[in-house]
Structure formats: C-alpha cells, structure tokens
C-alpha cells in the first residue's frame, strides 16, 4: 500500500467505526466499490512538465529601453489646453467675434451636424491669467500653480491631434489607436510585448478618481484580440482594491492557504495524468492569486508613508482621491508593475451645470495639480523618474470658440490639444510644436495619436511596427499602419 492509500484506508476505517457505533452495519458497504475503483485508477504518474508560458513573464524589448514603466495620467473628458498651457493673446482680442472661415476648412466639431449654423458661434479668449515659468519660459495658467513649478522636468506637446470629436470613440482612439471597438489598449500591447517585472501584482493596473468612471468603461483597458491576461486590472480606491481579493467571511489567510494547497496538489495529480501544461499555468495562477491577496492590500496601505510625502500629494486620511492614486502609482512602479493608468473625471467643460469653465475647471485642476507635481518630484527624488515615463493628457482638446450652455464653455476639439510627458527618456524642460494664433490647428510639429503611441513604445524599447498580433488575417499594431517616433521629444 502506498502512503496515500494508507491515509485513505485509515480515514475510511475511522469513519466506519464512527458510523458503525451509531448505526451498526447499516449502509456501511456503500463506499467499497468506489474505493476499489479509485485504487485501480492510480499508477499513471508521470514526471511533471515544467511550467507553461506565463503571459506576464518579463520579456526583452527590441532594443535598449529608456523607460521600464509607464504611468498614464488620463484626464478624462478633454482638458482645455486654452485654459491651461496654450496661451493665445490673439484669441482674447477677438473674443465674441465670428470665426474666420479659413479656420473652419476641413474641421469637424461635436454637437454641430450639418444642420448647425456655425456663424452663430463666437470666438472665446481665456479668462485665465497666464505666466511664463522655467528655463524655457513655458506658459502655464493660474489653474496649475504646482505644475508650473515642474515645467523644467517635463516636455509639453501643444499639437496633439486625434481623429474623432466624441468622447467614447476618442477615448478608445487614445487608448487603442483606433476608433473602432475591439482593439487592444496600449497597456495590453505593452504587457503583451514586455510582460511585467511584478510577480505578485497584475502587469497593467487602472486607478480611477473623480465623480464618475470614464466613458466606455472597460473598453478603455481592454485586451481586444490579445490574451485576456493583458487586460488592465482596475484597482479600487475603497473596499477590495481588486475584485474578489478578500476571502469570504470565515476564511482566514491560513484557511485560504490550506484550500489552495489542496487545489494545487489535486491539480498536480491531474497534470501527471494528462500531461497538459495548462494545468501548470493554473497552479501558478493560484499561487499568484494568493500572493496578490497579501501584496495588493500591502500596496494600498499607505500608512507607512511619511507625513511629508502624504502632504506633498495633498492626501487626506481615508479619502479616495487622484492624489492617493498618484502615490499608489509610484508604489506600483516600485513593485515593477509595467503599465499604470490613472483616470480622473471630469474635464468636459461645456459650460453646463457641473461643467463650467470657471469653478468646475478650478475644482478639477485643484484635484490634480498638486498630486501631478508631487508624483514627478517624488519619482525624481527616489531615482525612479529615469525609468518611468509619465504621460498627462485627455482624449482631445477644446475649441477656441465658445459654446453657450448655462454658461459659456468650450466644445470638443480633435485637431489640437495639450499633453505633457516626463521621465523615461523624454526631454526635460521642452515645448514641442506650435498652434495657430487662434488655436484651431497646429502650424508646426503636429503629433498625431499614432505618433504618440510610436514614441511611447520606442521609449520602452519597442519598435512599433514590429509589435504585432495576427488577427483576421492581418498583423495588427497599436499604431495601425501609421505612426512616427517623435525624436524631438527624446532626450
């Protein structure tokens, strides 16, 4: 008899006695048939096959990377470049005048279909005060006093161009390089290409703050036709950071360990019987799940951070906020997580209630300004900025003309918007591109979303035309059939 068979036999005898004591011999023969069958089925054991492909195992890039990790601060709704970074004194002069026709040629605007009378729309100069900062004299408005202090650490792109003027399509364009649904998001492509250094956390993490989730939801961090392992994992600010992370009531960590041990032992038995390497992957997945149960709460627990750090991000105790998410982003980078995306709503300042270009813009700026600057400084201080690419921006910019709702706001504008990048091989203290004097379009160094993607991949050591996945007969890329690395942005 093998040791296992002895255990079973012993258990069986013990039970038999228990039941016999209560019921004499009633029913006690039931199990023997099953026992015999079970015993015959053994003897198939083979040596275990080594673990199968791990989707998140770190992989080598195409060439030496400048950045190892990415933090994408997604300002959902489309921040107004004209109130923040793109200073337009000419536009101010022409406030309330009609738009010169030459500026409208070939442009599309949301809320303005063929029935819309564009002659009624008037130009709108900003009400915000601007000043120049840093060694390059970068213009930053009064809305972002903290960001103004880090302009020497960042590259400001004034000419970001996207192709669609509505939120959901534009958001997936920014995230997947296509306005069509079904494509993988940037984070999915990056972990598909590079895996992740973290072995106890997902390789692509999404954090959210603001009054509502980003439009389109999970589509923004989808894996599309790539394996689902590359999908972004949302971490929540409150409750379980990862869905189903906590054990059910009554299941302690020790109990969870015992159950997982039993599951994995049984899975290994079955692996021997079938020789299927997928079972090894599942065993590894359960081990990682168990590690995540410890590492994710540990990640979220910021009580070990100094008061000075918490203050620098403007974090209030126990409050979910963009600031807290920025700090978590740094902690995720420290743990080797490859791609971190923060969404903050709401930047959709049309002028309606809750979306005014005045106090609502003030509010959202206040929510993000200090934490963004703190993140850059914190990463820099800890020597992490060199390896970490930080990207700030939304799905599009806003129009130079006003839009009358409850108050005057601005509409969606896909021809130019502002984005800034820092760290990870990007130039520090650099301003890229210029827009026309009214802010309708770029006049030099336009950066299309595809170019942005190509550049981000390049900084990660990936040649964007070579990161492909074949689906429906075509080799798909994040950059579709376009995209040029913007070398001017690279230090």
């Amino acid at each position: 008899m093998t040791p296992d068979e002895m255990i079973v036999e012993e258990a069986y005898q013990r039970e038999l006695q228990r039941i016999t004591r209560r019921h004499f011999f009633r029913d006690c023969g039931v199990g023997l048939g099953a026992m015999a069958l079970g015993a015959m089925a053994s003897g198939k054991a083979q040596a275990a096959v080594p673990s199968a492909v791990d989707a998140m195992a770190p992989r080598k890039p195409h060439f030496a990377p400048r950045a190892k990790n990415v933090i994408f601060l997604f300002m959902a709704g489309g921040p107004s470049q004209l109130e923040l970074f793109d200073y337009k004194p000419e536009l101010q002069k022409f406030t309330n005048t009609a738009i010169p026709a030459s500026y409208l040629e070939g442009r599309r605007f949301a809320f303005m279909d063929s029935s819309f009378d564009i002659s009624k729309v008037k130009l709108l100069g900003t009400q915000r005060k601007f000043a120049q900062y840093g060694s390059n004299g970068a213009w930053v408005s009064e809305c972002l006093p903290y960001t103004a202090q880090i302009v020497d650490d960042i590259s400001i792109i004034k000419t970001l161009k996207t192709e669609v003027p509505n939120h959901a399509p534009a958001k997936i364009f920014m995230n997947t390089g296509s306005a069509q649904f079904g494509r993988p998001s940037m984070g999915a492509w990056v972990t598909y290409g590079l895996g992740s250094e973290a072995d106890d956390l997902p390789g692509f993490v999404v954090l959210q703050s603001g009054p509502r989730g980003p439009r389109g939801g999970a589509v923004n961090w989808a894996s599309g036709f790539l394996p689902t392992a590359h999908q972004g994992v949302p971490f929540r600010g409150q409750g379980d950071p990862i869905l189903n992370l906590s054990n059910p009531a009554g299941v302690s960590a020790g109990r969870q360990r015992s159950v997982i041990d039993a599951i994995n032992a049984l899975n290994r038995e079955h692996q021997s019987a079938t020789g299927d390497p997928e079972i090894d992957t599942r065993v590894a997945a359960y081990e990682m799940a168990y590690r995540m149960q410890t590492s994710a709460p540990e990640l979220m627990d910021i009580t070990g951070e100094s008061q000075a750090t918490l203050d620098s991000y403007g974090i209030q105790e126990g409050e979910a906020s963009f600031g807290r998410n920025c700090l978590l982003a740094r902690r995720l980078v420290e743990r080797g997580v490859r791609f971190i995306q923060l969404y903050h709503t709401n930047w959709d300042h049309h002028g309606g209630s809750g979306e005014t270009l005045t106090k609502d813009l003030d509010l959202v700026c206040k929510q993000i300004d200090q934490p963004c600057a703190a993140l850059i400084q914190d990463l820099k201080q800890r020597g992490l900025l060199d390896d970490t690419l930080v990207v700030w921006g939304g799905e599009f910019g806003r129009t130079p003309m006003g839009e009358l709702r409850d108050t005057i706001g601005r509409n969606h504008h896909n021809d130019c918007g502002v984005m800034w990048m820092a760290g990870g091989g990007v130039k520090a203290g650099y301003i890229h591109g210029e827009t026309d004097e009214l802010g309708f379009g770029s006049i030099e160094k336009e950066v299309h979303v595809h170019d942005l993607h190509a550049t981000i991949l390049h900084l990660l050591g990936i040649e964007h035309t070579r990161l492909t996945h074949r689906f429906m007969g075509r080799d798909f890329r994040l950059t579709d059939v376009a995209g040029h690395v913007v070398h001017d942005l690279i230090a």
Binding site: T2, D4, E5, I7, V8, A11, Y12, E15, I19, D27, V30, G31, A34, G38, A39, A55, R108, A110, F111, D113, N166, A168, Q180, F181, G182, P202, Q208, R212, R215, G216, G217, A218, V219, A222, F225, P227, T228, A229, V233, R236, L243, P248, G250, V251, S258, V259, A262, I263, L266, N267, E269, T274, E278, T281, R282, A285, T465, M472, G473, R474
Partner: protein
C-alpha cells in the same frame, strides 16, 4: 515525382492511395530535388504571395506599386514568364543581392526563406498556373478515403481523419474512459455536467447503443438550445445594453430566446439565416420571424450628447456589413470599408454594394406583451375608458351649477393666483364669453376639482404601469430606400459614387430575378452556389468540439487565413450539411458519434515532434469551459441550478462596484429566489460594465461579432472561483449537501463530490488530499467556531465545524482545473 524508398515517397503514395489532398503534409515534408512536383498554387504559392507581395501588388488599386498585380494570372505575366524562372522578373527580384531591388523590400521587415523561393521557382517552371482561392470554389462532395483500420472509423469523418494520420504514420488515441466521454458530451451538447445518476446509468448500460442513447437524449434536451445559442449570440454580438458611453439598458432578450428555440427545434440553418437577416420581409411574417431580425439590432447605439446621429447610424450599418462578412461568409469585409481589400478580391465597391442592402431600415421596437401583460393592459384600458365616461358625465352635470358656483365663490386672493389673462376671463360675464373662454374656465375648474384630479391621477398611473410590457428590437424596412454611396475612406461625410445593392463580385452572382431587399440578400447567402456559408458554419461547429476549426482562422477564409488541415473533410461536412436540409442536430450527432471525437485527450509523448499543436487530431483536446458554462457546471454540481429556460435577464451576485466603472452607475439589483441560480446565458450583460465573472473567463465584449473566444488562464480567475460570492455560495450549497450525508464515510462523500463535479471517482492520492483538507479544517473550525458561523450563516448546529469543513472541500472541488475543463 515521388522519391522511391524515402519517407516522403511513402507519404505521397499513402496520400494518393487514400485520396487525401496533399496540402499541409507536402509542406511539412517537401523535398527540393528538381524532380519535385509542381507546387499547389492554393496551398503553397498563394500564401507566399499573399503574405509578402499582395500589399503592394494585390487587389488594392490605390496601394499598388509599379502597376504590377500578382493576385491575377493575366496581370502577373508582366513579371512572370511561364516555364522559365530565370527569365521572370519576379524570380530575379526575390533572389537579387541588390538591396535596392530586392523584394519584398527589406524595410517592410519581410523576407522569403530559401524554401519559399524554391517553391516560386518550381511553380514558375511548371507554367505558373493560378487557381481560384480555395474557399471561393463551391465545395463538392469528396470521395470518402479508405483507411488502414476500417474498424476504427465509426463515421465517414473518421476516414478523413485517419487517412491523414495514416499518411503521417501515427495511430489515433484510444477512446476516452466512458465516464470522461459522458462528461465531455454532456458539456459539449448541453453545457451541463452529467448527474451521478446519469453516469451510473451510462456505466451500467453495456449495450452497443449506450452512447448513442445518451447523445440522442442530450440533443433532445431543452438545455441543448441554451448551450448552442450562446455560441451564436457571441457571433451576433448580443448584449443587454446600448454600449458606447451612456450604455443604457435595452430589452432584446426575446431575440436570445428565439435563438435558443431555433436550436432546440432544429430549425434548418438556411431558414435560421433568412429569418435573422430578413424575417420581417417574409410573406406573412410571424412574430418570431420579426423577433429574429434582432440579429442586426445588436449593434450599439451612441447616446452621447453632441454626436451626429447620422454618423452612428452609418456605424451601425457598417457593423451589419462587417458582421455579415464575418458570420456568414468568414470574410474580413471590414477591411474593404476604407479601401480595396489588401489581400482578398473584395473592393470598396463590393463593400458599399453590400452596405446598400442593409441601409434601408428603421430601427424599431416591437411590443411583445405576454398573455398576462395583455390581460393587464386590457383591464387598464377598460378602467381608463370607464373613468373617462364617468368624468364626462360629471363635468356635463357641473356646467349648470357647480362651475358657476365655483366662479362666484372665488375670493380676490384666489383670483390673483391665476395668470393675468385667466383673471380677465374669470371676471368677464359668463354669457359674454366665447367658446374658448368658456372652455378655459372649465379647464381652470377641472384643475382644482378634487374628484377630477384624483381620477386623472389614477388614469396616469394606469397608463404608466400598463404599458410596461416586454419589447424587443427589430428591423423594419423603409418604404423609400435610402441612397447609398461609396464613402471615400469609409468617411460618412465623403460620399462618392451612388451604388445599388449588390454582392461581392468574386462570389456567386445574385439570381437574375433578385430584387434589392434584405430578403434577396438572405436568399443569396443560403443559395447552394454560395461557396462559403456551409463551410464557414460547419467549421465553427467543428471548433466547438475540438477547440479549433479545420480552418483555424474561423473568421478569415480569405487568402491571409490559414488553410484547412483537412480540406476534403471540410467539404464533405459542408455538402452533407447542406444536402441534409441544413439540419444542425444530425450534423452535430455525426461529429460526436465519431471516433476522432471520442478519443482520450491526454498529451501524447509520441506526438510532441510530429504534431505539437495537435492539428491532425491523433487525440482529443482538453478545452477550458466557456465563462457561462463554468457557472452552469457549478450550479449543477451544487444542486442549486434553476433550470428554467428563457425570459428576462437575471442578476446573480457580483462584487460591489463593478457597475460604477462606467460613466453611469446602473446598479445591480441582485435577483432573488430561483432567478439567482439561473444559467449564465441569462445574466444581464452590460457592454460598458460587463458582469465580472463572465469577462474574467473571456466572455466577449459584444462590441463586434466574436466567432471564437480566447481561453486565458489568470490569477483573477482563481480569485473569482475562490472568493466571488456567486461561486462561494455554490460551494456552500455543495458543502452542506456533503455534510448532511452523515451516514456516509468521509471518503465516500469525497467520492460523491467527485462524481457531482467531475463525473469520476477519485484516486487514492486525490482522496487523501481532500481527507487531509477536511480533517485539518474541521479541527481548525473547532478552534475558531466564529469562522464556521460566518460561513454557514444562521444554520449552525453542533456539527458546525464539520459542516464548514465540507464547504472548504466543496470549494476546492469547484476550483479544480479539471472542473473548469472539458477533458
């Protein structure tokens, strides 16, 4: 020709003898001797040209370089001299050492291997013959090959499979254990595991028909339709919300039930296609036929403020064109929306001609009151009528006395509360008023009369509540069709040439008498001349049983798709399917009755080098269950399943906060009673914030047609099975069942758990693992009784520690790889 005495020669002889085509085998063993045979254009040459040349020298006129086109025989002669490779520019350009001239250009990152260059050389020397792309040639019934082991071949399918294995010198795997086969066929046909009783009956049945009886029982089960509908719903991009950012709920589940019914009643597949594409246009269209057109209403709706409605209507039509291409034709039509297809002979003109068929509808909502709802509606209408009659009398009577009295009794203060013009009216002399003024006074009185206000409130209530009946989304053809234009770059703002409805030129023609309606399109799709529909459909059925199709790229039968591993089998199945009146159940029965299906799935050391990906099926594949089926299996194993079929969506538990991930938190009202334990197909699916346990196990996002799911294997799946309330409560159910059986020894109860979850008995090693888990957990719960209480809820008795320990055992069972896998 063949080389005597070599392995290659033997294989070729074997292939010729059995009638199997040469394709993939030839590729695997091709020799380079000069006397090697002319390569097959479809199987060897076209893949090389398609991958490396067609982007610039293919169907897309705008992208074409040097005016050279290699996808057509005649045009290719600009670069090919048949019979003389040395004189052919093509050969020269792919072999030159001059980097400026080399093709494909080095900057494309593409290059030809020496083998590929050699294939081209031999092909040119043999006259460079072209063939129509394989999938565009209508299938003809092939001869069933003879095989080395006639006894193994239970069905003609097996002859095709074994002929290929014979050629490779590989023997098929033995049949799976009876119990394994039972669980496999249960899960494949109905998505539910066998009960221990069904297993015992099958094992006890030693008759030769035992298995066939099971298959027939499963095909007749109403759960068959639920299982097979789900595959179709993936392709139909079915969901219960509108998508995009607002993602409002929609009611279209009657379409889902239509699909379940169609599979259960074995509706002929051609009829199924016609009804979904154009059911509303059939003569005397029934309610069901109209519901069927929900197929193309599964497009998303953008409700975001400020969008141009026309843009997103066009998006939806484009989705219908793309879906038509993917689902019925296995073609990547979507590639031809902005430009001519880069690889396949599908032009932008073809795209928008197809578009013109689908551009003439209104999206309407079909009311579908159930008999009960109709009764309620009738009752409400009757009551409303009665109230209105009563009020008419009441007002008529009031005109003489009550209204004048009311007017007189108005105080100055009351009068001032009215609008100035009303004040004037009220102050005027009653007999000096015109009709409008009289009516106005009456209206003012009505607005304050308690009786009337009360009755009107009742009418409002009845109107609001009685029209809450079921609806579904359908297509309705417009009387006046829209004009359709070829759109430059697919941009809806850039119309070009006006087009009439038409079908891709490369496929079968529309009949001469065909009109321009969706019904004409539907009939063209199912016509016997269509080379694709039957092939594409049987291939997808096949992939459900083996994990991948005979054509692995099940959504691309074009030149970039993979070639069929068993082309004759594919054609045989396609012809069989069509000639048997498109009946699905007999086709599926043929497949599950075959020996190839019944094989054991364990890995085979001897295949590791010969066929590492098991393309030729010398064994079955282990396949992880689909998301919904994992839930269904847990429901069944735990005994909690509510087997009701059809009806509105349900809301099983899911982690808090999932619905808050979208723009609007729609909430998640967890279903009570039996609805909490319904099969996964009934779970409400929100496109923006999908049910978590479904997406974590790779359910598609319903944004476009999905014809094959990815199968991933992740830590988040582990956390879901371990901790998600929807699964933990089923572990509790199963645990309580095991715990209650106190008269049975622990090891036998473990065996019972194995039977319920895996349809097999455990090995001693497996039993030992669970005995240990049970014993240590029982001891631990004794020490921390609060844990046991937390797990068991209020039903804690003396046996709490033991009961809770069984929940942990049940939890382990529901987490096993084998539990979520079809062996």
């Amino acid at each position: 020709m063949s080389i005597p005495g070599t392995k290659f020669g033997q294989i070729r002889r074997a292939l010729r003898a059995c009638g199997a085509g040469f394709p993939a085998i030839v590729l695997a063993f091709a020799a380079h001797a000069d006397d090697a045979p002319a390569p097959s254009f479809n199987y060897e040459v076209r893949p090389i040209l398609s991958e490396n040349c067609f982007t610039c020298h293919g169907p897309d006129a705008k992208a074409r370089k040097a005016k050279l086109r290699l996808d057509l025989e005649e045009a290719s002669r600009d670069a090919i001299v048949p019979g003389d490779h040395a004189a052919s520019a093509l050969w020269e350009r792919v072999t030159t050492h001059d980097a400026d001239d080399l093709m494909p250009p080095p900057e494309t990152g593409k290059s030809l291997t020496a083998d590929q260059v050699d294939v081209l050389r031999r092909w040119i020397d043999a006259g460079a013959p072209y063939q129509k792309h394989w999938s565009f040639i209508p299938p003809a019934r092939p001869v069933v090959p003879s095989v080395s082991d006639a006894a193994w071949a239970r069905t003609p399918i097996d002859n095709f499979i074994l002929a290929r294995l014979d050629a490779m010198g590989v023997a098929p795997a033995p049949d799976a254990e009876k119990a394994t086969l039972l669980r496999r066929v249960h899960l494949d046909l109905t998505g539910l595991p066998p009960t221990p009783e069904e297993r015992a009956a099958f094992l006890a049945d030693e008759s030769p028909e035992a298995y066939e009886k099971v298959v027939d029982r499963l095909l007749a089960s109403p759960h068959f339709g639920e299982r097979w509908a789900r595959h179709w719903l993936d392709a139909a991009r079915y969901a219960d919300s509108n998508g995009y950012s607002i993602d409002s709920p929609r009611s279209i589940w009657p379409y889902r039930d239509y699909v379940i019914d169609a599979f259960n009643s074995d509706k002929p597949f051609d009829q199924f296609v016609i009804e979904q594409v154009a059911g509303d246009l059939l003569p005397d269209a029934t309610r069901e036929q109209r519901i069927a057109t929900g197929f193309h209403r599964n497009t998303m709706i953008n409700e975001e403020g400020g969008v141009d409605q026309e843009e997103f209507r066009m998006e939806a039509v484009a989705d219908r064109v793309n879906t038509t291409g993917t689902v019925f034709l296995g073609l990547t039509m979507s590639c031809a929306r902005c430009h001519d297809h880069k690889y396949d002979p599908l032009s932008q003109h073809d795209y928008f001609s197809l578009f013109a068929f689908l551009n003439n509808d209104d999206d309407v909502t079909l009311p579908l009151p159930t008999p009960k709802e109709q009764e309620k509606l009738d009752k409400a209408n009757a009551e409303i009528k009665a109230i209105q009659a009563e009020l008419a009398t009441y007002v008529a009577e009031a005109r003489a006395k009550t209204i004048p009295a009311w007017e007189k009794a108005l105080t100055l203060e009351q009068l001032r509360a009215f609008a100035p013009e009303d004040q004037a009216t009220l102050l005027s002399a009653p007999d000096a008023r015109d009709d409008a003024q009289t009516a106005r006074v009456e209206a003012l009185w009505k607005a304050q009369d308690d009786h009337i206000v009360k009755k009107n409130k009742r009418v409002d209530f009845l109107e609001k509540t009685s029209d809450r009946f079921t609806t579904t989304l359908v297509l309705a053809a417009r009387k006046q069709p829209r004009d359709t234009f070829l759109l430059i770059q697919g941009d809806y703002t850039r119309p070009d040439e006006k087009l009439l409805p038409g079908v891709p030129e490369v496929l079968n023609d529309l009949p001469a008498d065909a009109g321009a309606s969706r019904l004409d399109l539907a009939q063209w799709l199912v016509s016997p001349q269509n080379p694709l529909l039957a092939r594409v459909t049987v291939n997808r059925f096949w992939q459900r049983f083996f994990g991948k199709g005979i054509v692995e790229t099940e959504n691309d039968f074009g030149s970039q798709g993979l070639l069929p591993t068993h082309p004759e089998l594919l054609d045989w199945l396609a012809v069989e399917f069509r000639e048997n009146g498109w009946q699905v159940k007999p086709l599926l029965k043929q497949i599950v009755m075959s020996s190839v299906y019944r094989q054991a799935s364990a890995a085979r050391e001897d295949l590791r080098d010969v066929d590492p990906n098991n393309q030729y099926l010398a064994r079955q594949n282990r396949i992880r269950l689909d998301a919904e089926i994992i839930r269904d299996a847990a429901l069944a194993a735990s005994g909690a399943l509510d087997p009701a079929i059809g009806g509105p969506v349900v809301y099983p538990p899911q982690p808090a906060g999932v619905t808050s991930l979208g723009q609007r938190d729609r909430g998640w009202p967890v279903s009570k009673g039996g609805d909490r334990f319904r099969r996964g197909i009934y779970t409400a699916f929100w496109r923006g914030t999908p049910y978590y346990a479904l997406t974590v196990f790779d359910a598609p996002n319903a944004q476009e047609a999905c014809t094959r799911r990815i199968r991933s294997n992740t830590p988040l799946q582990a956390l879901t099975l371990l901790n998600d309330e929807a699964f933990f409560e089923l572990a509790e159910e199963l645990g309580k069942h095991l715990a209650a059986d106190t008269d049975t020894p622990v090891v036998d109860r473990i065996a019972d758990a194995f039977l319920r979850c895996l349809a097999r008995t455990p090995t001693p090693a497996e039993t030992a693992i669970l005995v240990k888990l049970h014993d240590t957990q029982r001891a631990s719960f004794k020490e921390t009784p609060a844990d046991a209480t937390a797990i068991l809820g209020e039903e804690v008795g003396e046996s709490a520690a033991d009961d809770a320990a069984w929940v942990m055992v049940a939890r382990a069972m529901l987490n096993l790889d084998e539990f979520v896998t079809r062996e």
